[in-house]
Amino acid sequence: METVFNHPLFLPVSMIVVIIAVFPLLAGYIVLIERKVLADFQVRLGPMRVGPHGLLQPIADALKLLLKEDIIPADSDKGIFWFAPVISTFTALTAFAVIPFSEKLAVADVNVGVLVIMAMSAVGILGIILGGWSSNSHYPLLGALRSAAQLVSYEVALSFALISGLMVAGTLSMQGIVKAQQDRHIWFIFENYGFMIVPFVVYLISATAETNRAPFDLPEAESELVAGFHTEYSGFRWALYFLAEYANIFVVSSVAVTLFWGGWLRPFPAVAWLEMPLNVGLPVLIFLGSGASSLILVKKLKDPVQQKTLVGAAFLCMGVAVPFLIPAVNAAIIGLFWFLFKVAVFVYIMIWFRGTFPRFRYDQLMNIGWKIMIPIGMASVVVNALLGMLRAS
């Protein structure tokens, strides 16, 4: 047993298993949060039926999707139609391989980590294009063309934003980037006299476009293209596309967190006296608080089964707070907590965008990409290079 644990491949393999097993569930819950938050923006309740406050909705959705009939259009290119969603999901999940969840928790620390993520997102475009084309139908084809044009355009701006970040970090390795921030006692968003905020904003906007999220969700604009490239998809294949989309959201958020917001570092990583309140106090407060506040909601529920479920969920939430109180365990998991916490903030921001901004017109989208984002991205590379030299000298 000891040899198994100490085997160099043990941690990566178990990480892979955990990610592939857990992420679909996580994606389901991101969808639930998205629906709930959007509902709140629009002063509705959102899903309420399955489980208390719709808490079990993702599981019901997953079952439904698995059991639905898998329709393949008669005139489609069957092989490609089958394979296209697999490309999208495969690439999206492969990108997880280089994400540094904490100092120890990562499948692999590749010395070209950022490029691997770029490569995977680039290949992922193929899934969308081929899916849209193989359906042999007008709306999917138009959706696929739009998305290809959009992704290729925004990838340029995205790369420029990444280059600014990489110049400050001096490495392409994802762990190396976080370690550089640890050594320099600063999150890179505040580096270069605060000018790194510019590439970060460019990154955030381009990343939103890269993931086909509102307000850049032209490829699947329901009012004009039905559902865009996946109009003809149903059942599990459709679910794969959605899994890929949410995986991509998670990945771009992770890159933003790693490159600009300190990865698994806590705020003010060099200020020692903040260790206690931030590393122990905050997580305990969050988990205990949210558990306790959901207990209040129990009384409003009428169905006893739902009441019991909510109580169980509340105690589960409070139970998560316990490991943070044990110093040895805390040290092991606090990095993961901070990383996921920051990623969650980004996921929330993306949902917020969707609830707030109206969709762009196609020409506006291209104008923003080519005439605003790319020039700003380029300029920020130059300015950050100069500032970096100034800082170093």
Binding site: D77, I80, V110, N111, V112, L115, V116, M118, A119, S121, A122, V123, I125, L126, I129, L130, W133, L141, A144, L145, A148, A149, L151, V152, E155, L172
Partner: protein
């Protein structure tokens, strides 16, 4: 393991290339080409050239092939597929292919010694520049010192290509 990976990638490269020229549907050809390019990327990885691996995928698959597919989808190729092909020189092609094939076979029977390949891949970086810690750094060192001029001049080439395609494609200059 390494030998196995090499042959696996080699099969991807060659199989993809053969499918590229034999498929009738342009999209299928493009996909086969992508498979072939992935194989090349894999071979780079086997040579521990991680940077080239990632760049190969980003540029060729993410950039060039996506645009290829884009264009193929915009153009109506069904008409073109029905047209009779006008390359009627298969006999000459066959002769050329046979001759090249025989040459290759002859080189193979002679063994590696006959080819007189360079014994050491003499990279410019090894001539005295400090050895860099990683692949990316090594490429950067060479690219921005010894090969600075080709690197910069290549941008002129791209500029010319852009200007040229705009001149040829635009309705009115």
């Amino acid at each position: 393991m390494e030998t196995f990976s090499f042959y696996a990638f080699a099969v991807l490269v060659l199989g993809g290339a053969i499918l590229t020229i034999t498929r009738r549907s342009a999209v299928h050809s493009a996909i086969s080409l992508i498979v072939s390019l992935v194989g090349v990327a894999g071979l780079y990885l086997l040579q521990q050239a991680e940077f080239l691996f990632a760049v190969q995928i980003v540029l060729y698959i993410g950039g060039i092939m996506v645009l290829f597919l884009f264009v193929i989808m915009l153009v109506n190729l069904d008409e073109a597929a029905k047209e009779r092909q006008f390359n009627g020189q298969w006999l000459i092609a066959l002769i050329c292919a046979t001759v090249v094939g025989l040459q290759v076979a002859w080189f193979m029977t002679k063994g590696a010694g006959a080819l007189k390949l360079a014994q050491v891949p003499v990279a410019a970086a090894q001539t005295g520049a400090p050895v860099s810690p990683g692949n990316v750094e090594a490429i950067a060192d060479v690219l921005f010192s010894e090969y600075l001029l080709p690197f910069e001049v290549a941008s002129v080439l791209l500029l010319v290509a852009v200007v040229g395609s705009v001149v040829m494609a635009k309705k009115r200059i």
